[in-house]
């Protein structure tokens, strides 16, 4: 009797020890993401250091000349390429996605929503390179036609000027990215809209408001932070996309003035020059600086979105 009691206690102690050991290991594992993030930022920063000793941050960010052999590493051309493609993608995707998710959640039948949701998730998983192939096959040939179509009306505005006979342009990149990120934005937005309690909608409708009034005054204010987070998710995907954009954007190192001009995003710069970067001093450092810039901007986006969400949650609780 005494013996079994002892062994029982013994197993119990062993089980608790095991749990405590696991607690230590799992907590250690859980700190890995923070650790990785820190190492990436510090690592890229250290690799950029040689360039920063050579020229100032401002010179790099605002320099228009990219001539590695002459020791000039201005990133402005590439930053403007990235910004214009991303901005265009956002302008195209955000309104369309918001309208579509509102329609699917607020107006469409439940059955239509449950039928379309798996298809959207599936499209969100399609590799970006496939979107690039589609852009190359459909959008790039289409863009010169759009360009000549709008010239009579908008040709005098610099933003729509046609200086580029090919379809490899900011507009092509923007369209491909917009289409690529819309499944992600819609999928998250639908989730957000569905989390708005139905009671709020019913209350508004019962007071005689139309569906649109309900959306405008009740649903949207409540869902706004989540919708912003959805758009930021799409934004960071578009921002960092490499191959799909490289395939359609032209990769000409000029600051784009019109949406029909070619551009050269930061990601394309890194991807195109990786192989040869070791031969010229500081070249590698400059490309790492470009990667650091991408990293820092994505971190800022995400922290901003997280802050919006946290503040909204706090307000909702009060």
């Amino acid at each position: 009797m005494q013996n079994t009691q002892d062994s029982k206690l013994h197993t119990q102690a062993r089980r608790i020890r095991k749990d405590e050991l696991a607690a230590r290991n799992y907590r250690l594992a859980a700190s890995f993401p923070l650790f990785l993030l820190l190492i990436m930022v510090v690592g890229f920063f250290l690799r950029t250091q040689p360039l920063l000793e050579h020229s100032s941050v401002w010179e790099i960010l605002s320099g228009m000349q990219w001539r590695p052999s002459a020791g000039e590493f201005g990133l402005l051309t590439f930053i403007s390429g990235t910004l214009s493609v991303t901005l265009l993608a956002l302008l195209l995707a955000a309104p369309l996605c918001m309208l579509t998710s509102l329609f699917l959640v607020e107006y469409a039948k439940r059955r239509a929503l449950t039928a379309i949701l798996p298809a959207i998730d599936l499209l969100a998983g399609i590799p970006s390179v496939v979107y690039g192939v589609w852009g190359l096959l459909v959008i790039v040939p289409l863009v010169p036609q759009i360009s000549s179509f709008v010239q009579p009306w908008l040709g005098s505005i610099p933003l729509f000027a046609a200086n580029n006979p090919t379809g490899y342009s900011i507009l092509s990149g923007g369209i491909v990215l917009a289409v690529m990120i819309s499944p992600i934005i819609i999928s998250v937005s639908i989730e957000v809209l569905r989390s708005v309690p139905d009671g709020l909608r019913h209350g508004s409708l019962a007071l005689g408001a139309t569906r649109w009034q309900t959306i405008k005054k009740v649903v949207l204010p409540r869902a706004m932070p989540g919708l912003i987070a959805a758009i930021v998710m799409g934004l960071s995907r578009a921002f960092g996309e490499t191959l799909a954009v490289m395939m359609v954007v032209g990769n000409t190192p000029l600051i784009p003035r019109s949406i029909f001009d070619p551009g050269y995003p930061l990601t394309a710069l890194i991807a195109n020059n990786y192989g040869e970067m070791m031969s010229i001093p500081l070249y590698d450092s400059a490309l790492m600086g470009a990667a650091l810039l991408l990293l820092v901007i994505v971190i800022i986006f995400n922290l901003g979105a997280a802050l919006v969400l946290i503040r909204a949650n706090r307000r909702a609780q009060v």
């Binding site: 095991k18 250690l28 859980a30 993030l37 329609f103 599936l122 390179v129 459909v138 139309t210 995400n302």
Partner: protein, 286 residues
């Protein structure tokens, strides 16, 4: 009673029509992508393409196929997913079971969200720097390691979401019967969240197969099927990219067919994930 038409009703009707149009355009374009890939890829798809490795001059329009890229992609994504699973599950447990609803947990979740948002090219560049520091060459092993880093945030965040959905009463019932946190985690939480965990793993696998920028410099490219972790490996997205850059129409055609193979693979993974999730949810207590 006759319906009174006020401005509000007109506005409602108008917005409804605009939304319908927006949905039609977007759904139409997305459907058109799949149709385009199928129509342009199918004529170039034959048995040789998926059962042979590139023969001499394949990228000049010669004989052969893309078996090297298919096997390479499966090895890269498979290896990455396996490694990421071994790292992600402890992280998810660490956040969910051992950190609880504390401020630290939300900090960790935020870090994971940031990591999820980091462009795959940046992971590639990071991996490349590490490779150089250790004197490694572009290889299957290096590609797997970079994909692992890329997949961890996707896997952990999805696992974390599912684990949070499991009612805490279930774990508390296990505790009240004398189970330790570890035992409750493995026998209650994992079983209850299993369908979601499988979905998370397959989601990460799909991202791994489709990602190109991260393996561009770390896995390299090779016409041969990799024989060891140290040999370079081809991958499907890069095969598409390289073939489309060719001036030869036949090679570009093979590129379309390769994109089709990649798309079908992703569709298959997505359906498999749905099927498994439904199959496994039979063991879940509701």
């Amino acid at each position: 009673m006759k319906k009174r038409w006020t401005l509000a009703h007109l506005e409602d009707r108008a917005m409804r029509t605009i939304m319908q149009l927006a949905s039609l355009v977007l759904v139409g374009v997305l459907a058109a992508i799949l149709v385009t890939i199928f129509i342009r890829g199918l004529p170039f798809l034959d048995l040789d393409l998926i059962t042979k490795t590139p023969q001499g001059g394949f990228f000049l329009g010669g004989e052969g196929g893309i078996l090297n890229a298919i096997v390479g992609s499966l090895l890269l994504a498979g290896g990455g997913t396996l490694l990421a699973l071994f790292i992600s599950l402890p992280i998810a447990f660490g956040i969910n079971v051992y950190t609880g609803a504390s401020r630290l947990a939300s900090l960790l979740r935020m870090a994971l969200d940031v990591l999820w948002g980091i462009p795959s090219l940046v992971y590639g560049a990071f991996g490349f720097t590490i490779m150089i520091a250790f004197g490694m060459r572009a290889s299957l092993g290096a590609g797997i390691l970079v994909l692992t880093l890329l997949q961890i945030p996707i896997m952990v965040r999805s696992m974390d979401e599912v684990m949070r959905m499991v009612p805490s009463e279930l774990s508390q019932a296990a505790y009240s019967l004398g189970a330790t946190r570890l035992e409750a985690a493995w026998s209650v939480l994992v079983r209850q969240a299993l369908p979601g965990l499988v979905t998370a793993v397959l989601l990460a696998f799909g991202r791994g197969i489709g990602d190109a920028a991260s393996v561009l410099f770390t896995a390299g490219f090779s016409d041969r099927i990799p024989t060891s972790l140290a040999s370079p490996s081809a991958s499907l997205p890069l095969a598409v990219f390289f073939q489309l850059g060719s001036p030869f129409p036949e090679v570009r055609g093979n590129g379309y067919a390769t994109a089709l193979v990649l798309t079908v693979l992703i569709l298959f993974i997505s359906m498999l994930s749905r099927f498994l999730a439904r199959r496994l949810s039979r063991n879940v207590i509701r």
